[in-house]
């Protein structure tokens, strides 16, 4: 199953898919590297599921090409493509047992009965489902059903495994466990995964590459680190959690790639930009709430970005409290996280006046 170097497992070339009244996929081009986990990330309705379905063959495209293993597959029906899908609803056949479910695809291929039994046994081991062969889907837990769905697809050793928000219906704890599981399994079988999710934390956890989509278009493709640290557009920054957005223009530059940005309402913010980005292209800055420090109003310290304001909202979240502060200087609300760890000895309360501060490295450059 080794692929030649450099040939992407799946490629989309300028793909367009329209539904009545909306362009669901708008000139999308991307390359999915062989043997990796590639995620399509975006809010509901951004076109990620439609893109997945175009690769699977459940939708026909209007323009462009879909290639699997360097062959155009536009006209090949779903049941003949060498890919396998894990559906959001899992779609386990309710009237069949676990082993009948998993063996279904092999049966369709005409594999001999004893070979089927062997393969099914192996994949059950891999998924830690030993002993569940004769059960029906209704007799399994949520996590077990997930693994059966995965097993059913993996046993066919497809060129690419397509996963459509498979963990959407699980509770938080189980989700985190399954994310680790999925990663482990992928590393073991080394099949390419194309993963659709709307959960940015999930994408960051499991992906090798993330493609962020919005309104049918690709916004940015990169490693989790790139997407998180250097979101290109305001939309991406906001979606990834850097919800403090300051739009403005660069008014000054420094020697070591530092820039000073001024917003329309007069705030001045210091940031560090990448060498390759010209200052003229910078449209704004975003800052993650967890990188902003909250200090008592009277604190006197040196810092890059300091602003004073009043706490207007506090939401307890366990290990931190999400705090919203209205600035004195301008009519703006900043969100910051107040740590609730035991070492923290300063407590704040609603309506209290505070000082906000963050380092220039915490400011992330936006260029779109």
């Amino acid at each position: 199953m080794e692929n030649r170097e450099g040939i992407p497992c799946v490629e989309l070339r300028n793909v367009v898919k329209r539904f009545p009244g909306v362009t669901a996929v708008d000139h999308v081009s991307l390359k999915v590297e062989q043997g990796r986990i590639f995620s399509l990330l975006g809010p509901s309705g951004c076109g990620k599921t439609t893109t997945l379905r175009l690769v699977a063959g459940f939708e026909t495209l209007d323009e462009g090409d879909v290639l699997i293993d360097n062959k155009v597959v536009n006209d090949i029906p779903a049941h003949k493509r060498n890919c396998s899908t894990v559906f959001q609803t899992l779609a386990l056949f309710p009237h069949m047992t676990v082993e009948e479910n998993i063996g279904y695809g092999l049966e369709r291929k005409g594999v001999a009965k004893d070979k089927i039994k062997k393969e099914v046994g192996e994949v059950l081991e891999l998924m830690q489902l030993g002993g569940m062969e004769k059960r029906r889907p209704s007799q399994l837990s949520g996590g077990q059903r997930q693994r059966v769905a995965l097993a059913r697809s993996l046993v066919l050793r497809p060129k690419i495994l397509l996963l459509d928000e498979p963990l959407a219906s699980l509770d938080r704890k189980l989700r985190k466990e399954m994310q680790t599981e999925i990663k482990r399994i992928q590393r073991e079988v080394r099949i390419t995964f194309l993963y659709v999710t709307h959960d940015q934390k999930e994408a960051l956890t499991i992906s090798d590459t993330i493609a962020v989509m919005a309104n049918g278009r690709l916004e940015q493709v990169g490693t989790p680190n790139e997407i998180y640290e250097t979101p290109r557009t305001r939309f991406i920054a906001d979606f990834m959690g850097a919800i403090n957005i300051f739009l403005g223009k660069v008014i000054a530059t420094g020697s070591s790639q530092e820039v000073q940005l001024e917003t329309a309402d007069g705030l001045k913010i210091i940031a560090i930009k990448n060498k390759g980005i010209p200052s003229e292209e910078i449209t704004g800055i975003s800052v993650h709430p967890e990188l902003i420090d909250i200090l008592p109003e009277g604190t006197d310290l040196e810092g890059d970005n300091k602003f004073r304001g009043k706490i207007i909202e506090m939401n307890y979240q366990g290990d931190f409290t999400e705090t919203r502060i209205c600035l004195n200087q301008v009519d703006r609300i900043i969100t910051a996280h107040l740590s609730n760890e035991p070492g923290q000895n300063v407590r704040f309360s609603l309506d209290e006046r505070v000082l906000l501060c963050w380092n220039r490295h915490s400011s992330k450059i936006l260029i779109g």
Partner: protein, 260 residues
């Protein structure tokens, strides 16, 4: 008297009266089927004679077999036709879809005399099918297929249709998906339709009478013709069997379900 007191006393009483009103004729029928009175209209002494008579009664036996045969054919054809119709209407979008669905469901709500009369004219004038068991069977299929479609269509709305996509994804072509996934998943609905169609067909009198012509007898028609001669214990006996059998089968089904 306080309001709640009234409802506590009057409501159960009222319900009891309604139940008695509904069930009294049936209970009397059942009781008198064991009476030795020749007309079966009053109590004389206990006897099972009429039940033994029924067994040897050729006319009853023939009528029963006719009704069962017609019902069986109707169940098979109507369920298949209804399922296919439901599938097509649910999964495919085309112009006039809503209108087609309404049209197919129409016979279910039309008065039986209208359906019967229309079919009679259709058979004798339009397509010249001789009135008899064939016309009766066709008529039954006509008004039972909508029922099957209705039941299956209702069930289809509650099924996860990515099952079919999953089957295709795993390499099954259309026909195999249909055979291995779609039909098994729809089977409970199809069986439910069959269970509903049976009494519709077996019991039918009005439409059957219209299209039966001369000399063809289903069980309901036989009972009606016997009534013309006056009350006879045969009616009580058949009636009792037709009431008791469904009750027993329902109880049996519930017992089997509980065991699961």
């Amino acid at each position: 008297m306080k309001a709640s007191n009234m409802t506590n006393k009057i409501l159960p009483t009222l319900s009891m009266l309604v139940y008695i009103f509904l069930w009294a004729p049936v209970i009397i029928l059942v009781l008198f089927s064991f009476s030795s009175n020749r007309f079966g209209i009053k109590w004389e002494s206990f006897t099972l004679q009429w039940y033994f008579d029924i067994i040897g009664n050729v006319a009853v036996r023939d009528a029963l077999i006719r009704s069962l045969t017609i019902a069986s054919i109707t169940i098979v054809v109507a369920t298949i036709a209804g399922t296919i119709a439901a599938y097509g209407l649910y999964k495919y979008k085309f112009r006039g879809r809503g209108a087609l669905r309404t049209t197919i469901l129409l016979p279910m709500v039309m008065p039986s005399v209208v359906t019967g009369g229309a079919l009679l004219v259709f058979f004798s004038r339009a397509i010249h099918i001789p009135l008899g068991y064939l016309s009766i069977t066709i008529a039954h299929i006509t008004f039972c297929t909508p029922l099957a479609m209705f039941v299956v269509l209702g069930r289809m709305a509650r099924i996860d249709w990515s099952l079919e996509e999953a089957s295709a994804d795993l390499g099954a072509d259309r026909l195999t998906t249909w055979r291995k996934i779609t039909i098994p998943v729809l089977l409970p609905a199809m069986i439910a339709s069959a269970a509903l169609i049976f009494p519709w067909s077996f019991d039918d009198f009005i439409i059957t009478y219209f299209v039966a012509g001369v000399g063809t007898t289903t069980l309901p028609i036989y009972i009606f013709s016997q009534l013309r001669f006056g009350a006879t214990p045969v009616i009580n006996t058949i009636g009792t069997i037709l009431v008791v059998l469904p009750i027993i089968s329902v109880l049996l089904m519930r017992f089997l379900q509980k065991k699961k």
